[in-house]
Amino acid sequence: MQVFKAMFKVMRSRLPSAMIYIVCFVVISAIIANASTNDNKFEAKRLDICIFDEDDTPESHALAELIKKNNDIVEIEDDKDTVTDALYYRRIDYALIINKGYADKIRAGESADFFSSYHLDESFSVVYMGQFLDEYVATVKAYLNMGKSFDEAAVSAEEALSQNAEVNMLSRIDKGGNSHFSVDFAGYFQYMPYILISIIISVVSLVLVTMNRKDIRFRTNCSCLKESKYTAQLFIGSFVFVFIIWLVFMIFGAILNREMYTGRAWLAVLNSFIFAMVVGTMAVLVASFEPKDNILNLITQVLGLGMSFFCGIFIPVDVLSDGVLSVARFLPAYWYVKANNMIADITPYSLDEVVECYLIQIGFAAAMVIITLLVRKVKYSGAAISTAVKKKAVSQ
């Protein structure tokens, strides 16, 4: 097992950079896991709103109080640049100005120019608040028309507007209930491919390239070690590394989930195992082209970031355009994410389709192995070596 041992010695030199990836991933996952909620009850979205009350009357205060009930009030400086920044970076969703003279106008029954709002774009929040304000004014005016005083009208309007409609969540969606694999926990598995690709390709490929360096390879070739044994040890070494990395993630996953995997969660575990193996074969393939160190870094980034963005790892699949998705089908991560979404009940679950995704991923792995064998055959065949020797002879 000399080759095997040597592999792990080389791997050790790459461990620090792999550790950085692992630590970052686990810390971020831990933060996300803590912030998640597990209930399946509808809650209205609270907007972040800032109110500049130029009127400053009991009437405008009543409105501000009503807005405060369903939204969060953010205090920011009344300065155009500050408001623009806050709106652009989504620190606030809406900037409302209650115009001077609001109270007098609404008492007089006028119909426009009560409010102003700083407007950056026509977003959903803007439409929503616009509708709310129109509704409030119309309601108050209706009660004033009934002959009520403003205070009574404001109270009645508030009462009318605080009716609560019945909202149900679609019953299929099960947040951490019977499936034992909550949507929040699925996030942990969702981001894992990026980390797996980054670590496995950068480490395994580097080790294989190093072991394959000309002088080392020539030395190994003239030893009494059989070629098949040498290849087998390289293979076992890579497999063990991939397995250890995967196992580390599974252990952290169980810790973050605060319980052992049960039920459907095992399907996700299996999914990630298959994907880790796919990435392993990918690393072997990359290594067979013998890239230089800096090129290898680039390949790792391209594969990691590319698959993450194309296949819906960093952002949900449903915001990707159809063109992107049709390309993504040719990448293994797409099938990983698809299976993961089904297991987590984000898309309708069907065991057959999940198994289908597994098989497609295994197909990718098989294809990668075949291409690797082909590349190696072409590269190290007698013909290839003799042309290389001839070329060298000519150049000398």
């Binding site: 623009t84 970076y89 209706a142 149900n168 969540m169 800096n294 090129i295 590319g306 963005f309 992107v324």
Partner: protein, 377 residues
């Protein structure tokens, strides 16, 4: 001599693969990824468009149907309704074709899949319907003689109570700032070019440095020539990056693209100067220098929002002064100002900040690399 060193500096730069990979290829790949990821997210999730909704009309609620049809006939309708039965509606909701299902049987109710703003708007919509009902009931009980008029005014009175004050003509897509930060990242990566200047001129770091040190050229001239060469190369990289983003990926930089170029170039100069300065203060090996620089510039880019879009806003509310001295934030702010602000005040102040930062770095770099002589290595 200046021209001679400059020529070789440029030749050297062209043959450095790291430079081409990190300053040209990597931004192109990351930019393409960003485009795929953020290209349609704003249009799809934040910009207002009609909310698709399924309506299950068991009880034949004719007035409600009328209201919905009234809304749909508007120019920019709030709802896009499909009348269907329960099973189909649930299938549509599950597949994501609609945002919610409204059941009209005796009392209006809503079924949704997520807890977002669109769902909240649907909830508000059906509540609005019952608010009007309540008003009508109250009107009939308190002022029956005016009831007709009040109810009529509720439906006809559609005057906008709110006047919008436009803030900017620019591109309001907040995801564009990822591309601003991408340019800032390329600029900050210029520090790798910058640190090469020190490596090439410091005798204990490279054989080339040792050779340069025993040549009779004054250090000031050789460093100035190297610095000029690095500026030129970085400028080319910045131009490629901006051109790629603006013309290949078609990122909307607002209507002042011709000003984006010089800002990006100035940003690149900040990056190179930063690398030159850090390279000349730290007496560590060249690998360690590159590692230090890369991590510092990544942290700066993180604080400016390369990884999380609202990072700059978070920092603005906790430690606002940091955004004014963090080079990555200043560079990306430049593009933000060009896009959003009509006037040039803030843009110019950012440019001045960049110029001052690079001047400080260059001067400090020269001061610290002075008089580093070696009797033997």
């Amino acid at each position: 001599m200046f021209m001679h060193i400059l020529k070789y500096e440029l030749k050297n730069g062209l043959r450095t693969k790291d430079l081409i990979i990190w300053l040209i290829l990597f931004p192109i790949i990351l930019g393409t990824c960003f485009k795929i990821a953020f290209g349609s997210i704003y249009e799809k999730t934040e910009k207002f468009s009609s909310i698709p909704v399924a309506i299950v009309d068991d009880g034949e609620n004719a007035p409600f149907r009328q209201v919905v049809e009234g809304i749909e006939s508007a120019d920019e309708p709030f709802l896009k309704a499909t009348f269907t039965d329960k099973a189909k509606a649930e299938k549509m909701l599950d597949d994501g074709d609609v945002e919610g299902i409204i059941f009209t049987a005796d009392k209006l109710s809503l079924t949704v899949k997520e807890k977002g703003l669109k769902e909240t708007m649907l909830k508000a919509f059906i509540e609005q319907y019952s608010v009007r009902e309540k008003i009508a009931v109250d009107a009939i009980s308190t002022a029956p003689e005016k009831a007709q008029e009040i109810i009529a005014s509720l439906t006809s009175d559609t005057a906008d109570s709110c006047r919008e004050i436009p803030l900017s003509q620019g591109n309001p897509d907040p995801y564009a700032q990822y591309f601003y930060n991408l340019i800032a990242m390329v600029a900050m990566f210029g520090c790798i070019t910058g640190v090469h200047i020190t490596i090439q001129n410091q005798a204990d770091l490279s054989p080339l440095g040792a050779r340069n040190n025993c040549s009779p050229v004054p250090k000031s001239i050789s460093i100035t020539a190297c610095l000029t060469g690095s500026y030129i190369m970085q400028t080319v990289c910045m131009l490629i990056c901006v051109t790629f983003l603006a013309f290949v990926l078609k990122i909307d930089f607002g209507d002042r693209l011709w000003l984006v170029y010089p800002s990006a170039v100035l940003g690149g100069i900040v990056g190179v100067s930063f690398g030159f300065f850090v390279g000349s203060i730290a007496r560590v090996s060249d690998k360690a220098k590159v590692a230090i620089l890369m991590s510092i510039s990544m942290v700066m880019c993180f604080c400016s929002g390369l990884m999380m879009g609202n990072m700059k806003a978070v920092i603005a509310s906790t430690i606002p002064w940091f955004n004014n001295i963090n080079p990555a934030a200043v560079i990306s702010d430049c593009f933000y100002c060009l896009n959003i602000y009509e006037d040039y005040d803030r843009f110019i102040s950012k440019l001045i900040t960049m110029a001052v930062i690079s001047a400080v770095f260059v001067v400090l770099g020269f001061v610290t690399s002075r008089r580093k002589k070696y009797a033997s290595i």
